[in-house]
Symmetry: C2
Subunit: 338 residues, 2 copies
């Protein structure tokens, strides 16, 4: 690959059901030249996130669909390699939602500088970035957990789930994680201090397994998964419980919507709340959230874990792995050395 | 029936599916004698309400189950006929949640005086009572309707629904009611000023019918019904919509829980809220709500309608009629003349 080649990944076609490699196309272009006011960014890490599956479809959602033939957009951390913008110097690290590409051009409005002394720069894509803020906002402003309450998190070892559980522990809650591998469960209880973790794939009776570790019922349910996992959790919610709908990864690749037990009756008899959100709904709290998360990370009170795949050409594979549950912790693609 | 006979209705057995007359038992007792501090109340109106179906089952819910062999408890309006309590005089009208009986005894803590000059005393069982407060609290504090938004109400001609729609109109919203008879729909649009009403039993394609009268989507859904009606509504909710779960009358008599389209994904992509409640969750706003409702009633801005069945012996039949959708407006049983 020559030095002046910029590889990019485009949406080749909209998937029906589970996406495959054929829905993506890698192209090569020349590294773009920048104009006055712009910077050229070398990608170091690309973030692959479950919500991107939604953007591959044309259906109305909070995130605008990707266009067929256009590049994927996603979180990335990079380094300024050329600048014609006085706010940015060569060598600075930045984070932004840009193209899945080895190089990006920005006028500065789509990126923010990150401080490499605070934490490794890749944390700007998880605990000190969108997933961390998502965990903080959903738990704090929808979940409103109180000391002594029981918080259940699905997709607990993912980028958002692992932060949710640790914040809930810091708030004095009993925390139960649900994940799809024994290794993930061990990570949650041994490394992150969760009170219990359940492998939903091997539990003989999921409801019973959850009930056993939630003797006082469930006050807050932070849901990244949906489907049968949520069906079991929802039967155990307490009066005036709060369910945060952050993701529904079990449902994203279904060709036909799945039927399930209706939840409205359960919400009624328990006088409970269920709310979907995206992180930008709580943007007015960004500064507070970022300050708090940074402090917890600095004090060692919140840990995070990365699952790294190397090489731009493996980006699609890393993305598809999300739906197989390959990752423990935040799934990243490392494109270049810092 | 002798003057000193007090008829009562007990729960004879718990129903499976739709309740029948056999689940109830009428007994005759002597009219009780009152002790110091007590009053004897002659029942004038009994209220039959859908939520009572829940109390006939043993399942955990916000309202404690009735016990087999014990009297039904429900809203009633009565007149003091004997008093040994200085706070109450003979001839005063009171409202309370007491036994389904021709006479009740109270120590005063379970009843409140009602003012017959404000409105007919029976309104204490609907617009100026529990159903009115329920409509006000749910719409105001969960729905938070803004001027110009679209509010959809299911069970729209029932005791709660008819008030919800009128309050929403007073707040400047577009209001669409869903009901199960053409006559109910006509009442909503002709008498109560709803912008549109849909008969869900005769609509060929319910979703399409709702969409036609909600060109800007649905911002607030006040749900008294659940099931297929809600399935259709939920496909049309807007970003950051609010769904108030007040009742699920379509589901109360099912022998097996019904499956339906999962709502969590829709709540996620629209960043929407769904919340169940009972009126007492908002008790801190009771005074404000009552004052506001009384004023609207006095000014003629809120109307209400009663569906009256006469005679204590017809109470069970009136209750069962709720589940057939017999009533337009608040279903009452008139037991005695004022």
């Amino acid at each position: 690959m020559g030095e002046n080649v910029n590889r990019k990944i485009l949406l080749a076609s909209r998937p029906v059901g589970m996406p495959t490699e054929s829905n993506f196309k890698m192209i090569e272009e020349k590294v773009p030249e920048i104009k006055e006011g712009e910077v050229l960014i070398r990608t170091l890490f690309l973030s692959v996130d479950p919500y991107m599956r939604g953007r591959m479809s044309a259906a109305k959602s909070y995130a605008k669909p990707y266009e067929v033939g256009e590049p994927f957009l996603g979180g990335m951390v990079g380094k300024i390699v050329e600048t014609r913008n006085s706010r940015f110097q060569v060598g600075q690290f930045v984070e932004g939602r840009l193209e899945w590409a080895e190089y990006n051009v920005s006028d500065g409005s789509t990126i923010r500088k990150i401080n490499p002394e605070l934490a490794p720069v890749s944390t700007a894509l998880h605990v000190l970035g969108m997933p961390g803020l998502t965990a903080y906002m959903g738990l704090t402003y929808i979940g409103e957990p109180k000391e002594g309450e029981t918080v259940v998190v699905s997709g607990a070892s993912g980028a958002v789930g692992m932060i949710v559980g640790q914040i809930a522990k810091l708030k004095g809650c009993r925390v139960v994680g649900i994940a799809g591998q024994d290794e993930k469960c061990t990570y949650l209880t041994e490394e992150l201090g969760f009170d219990a973790a359940i492998n939903y794939k091997t539990a003989e009776n999921l409801r019973k397994a959850i009930k056993e570790v939630c003797p006082d019922g469930i006050d807050v349910y932070f849901d990244n998964v949906g489907g049968a996992v949520s069906d079991a959790v929802m039967t155990l919610i307490n009066f005036q419980s709060r369910t945060i709908i952050c993701g529904q990864i079990s449902q994203y690749n279904l060709e036909m919507p799945e039927m399930g037990p209706r939840v409205a009756g359960q919400l009624l008899t328990t006088r409970s709340l269920m709310k979907g959100f995206i992180v930008s709904d709580y943007a007015q709290h960004n500064k507070e959230a970022f300050t708090q998360l940074s402090q917890w990370v600095k004090e060692g009170k919140i840990q995070s874990r990365e699952n790294i795949v190397f090489g731009f050409e493996n980006t699609v594979e890393a993305f598809l792995g999300l739906f197989r549950g390959d990752n423990i912790g935040k799934q990243l693609v490392k494109i270049a050395e810092e």
